[in-house]
């Protein structure tokens, strides 16, 4: 009958060390897992913020990619009736094309120049013929059909 194995202090130390190692390893693994979870939460938060910024910038840019409202209104009021609708449609199309190609500010500048070339000569003729007050009165008279 063999003698039972004597548990030496070394064995205990090794056993304790192994246990300690396992505990440490487990702790490290837990910590790594916790860090990974925190990193994932942080990444998700960052993605949510980025997508929110993306939506805001696209809505902001979609607001900017519109013809200048004042120029549009002036053209609608003052351009000859026979051509106003065609002019507005063409300028809208050219504005979008120029905005994509050259940028919004250049597209807006082009729109203003075209608008002033469309209504400028008519305004000058009216002012020359009737003066400022006369031109306003004549415009109102024509609009009201009097």
């Amino acid at each position: 009958m063999s003698e039972p194995e004597k548990v030496t202090d070394v064995d205990v130390v090794i056993h304790v060390d192994m246990t300690k190692f396992n505990i440490l390893a487990k702790l490290r693994a837990d910590r790594a897992l916790r860090n990974a979870v925190h990193a994932a939460i942080k990444a998700e938060h960052v993605m949510a913020t980025l997508s929110k910024m993306d939506v805001e910038s696209s809505s902001k840019s979609s607001k900017e990619i519109n013809p200048p409202a004042l120029a549009e209104s002036l053209l609608a009021w003052l351009a000859p009736k026979s051509t106003a609708e065609n002019l507005l449609g063409d300028l809208q199309e050219l504005f979008e094309s120029h905005a994509n190609q050259y940028g919004v500010s250049r597209a807006r500048r082009f729109y203003w120049i075209q608008m002033s070339r469309a209504i400028g000569p008519g305004i000058c003729r009216a002012l020359t013929k009737w003066g400022f007050v006369g031109a306003v009165v004549e415009y109102g008279r024509r609009k009201l059909g009097l």
Binding site: A79, S82, T83, E85, N86, L87, L88, G89, D90, L91, Q92, E93, L94, E96, Q114, R117, A118, I119
Partner: protein, 109 residues
């Protein structure tokens, strides 16, 4: 003499010919800008087209509305037979005037 075309009318009609059957305000403007290197006002183009239509040289038809134009329809133009004859006569007159001159007109000193 009533069929004489002004220079603006000539170039607009030539642009319509090049862009047929897709000749409308924007395409005529872009054709003049790219080929002739001029950027007339769109209002000038439409005023010219209106005069040409009154003379019977072009005719127009309304296309379907499109979203890129804010829901507004395109107005397409094409040259009539009468317009083609007037354009040919006008361009032939210019060719006759140019005949015998050097290719690049020299500056008279």
């Amino acid at each position: 003499m009533a069929d004489n075309l002004k220079q603006t009318e000539q170039i607009v009609m030539l642009a319509i010919m090049r862009k047929h059957p897709n000749a409308y305000g924007v395409s005529i403007f872009e054709e003049l800008s790219e080929r002739a290197g001029i950027e007339p006002a769109l209002a000038t183009i439409y005023a010219t087209l209106e005069k040409l239509e009154q003379k019977g040289f072009v005719k127009s038809r309304r296309g379907p509305p499109t979203s890129e134009r804010g829901g507004k329809a395109k107005l397409f133009f094409e040259i009539t037979g009468h317009g083609q004859r007037a354009l040919n006569a006008s361009l032939n007159a210019i060719d006759r005037l140019r005949g015998g001159t050097t290719k690049d007109v020299e500056v008279l000193t």
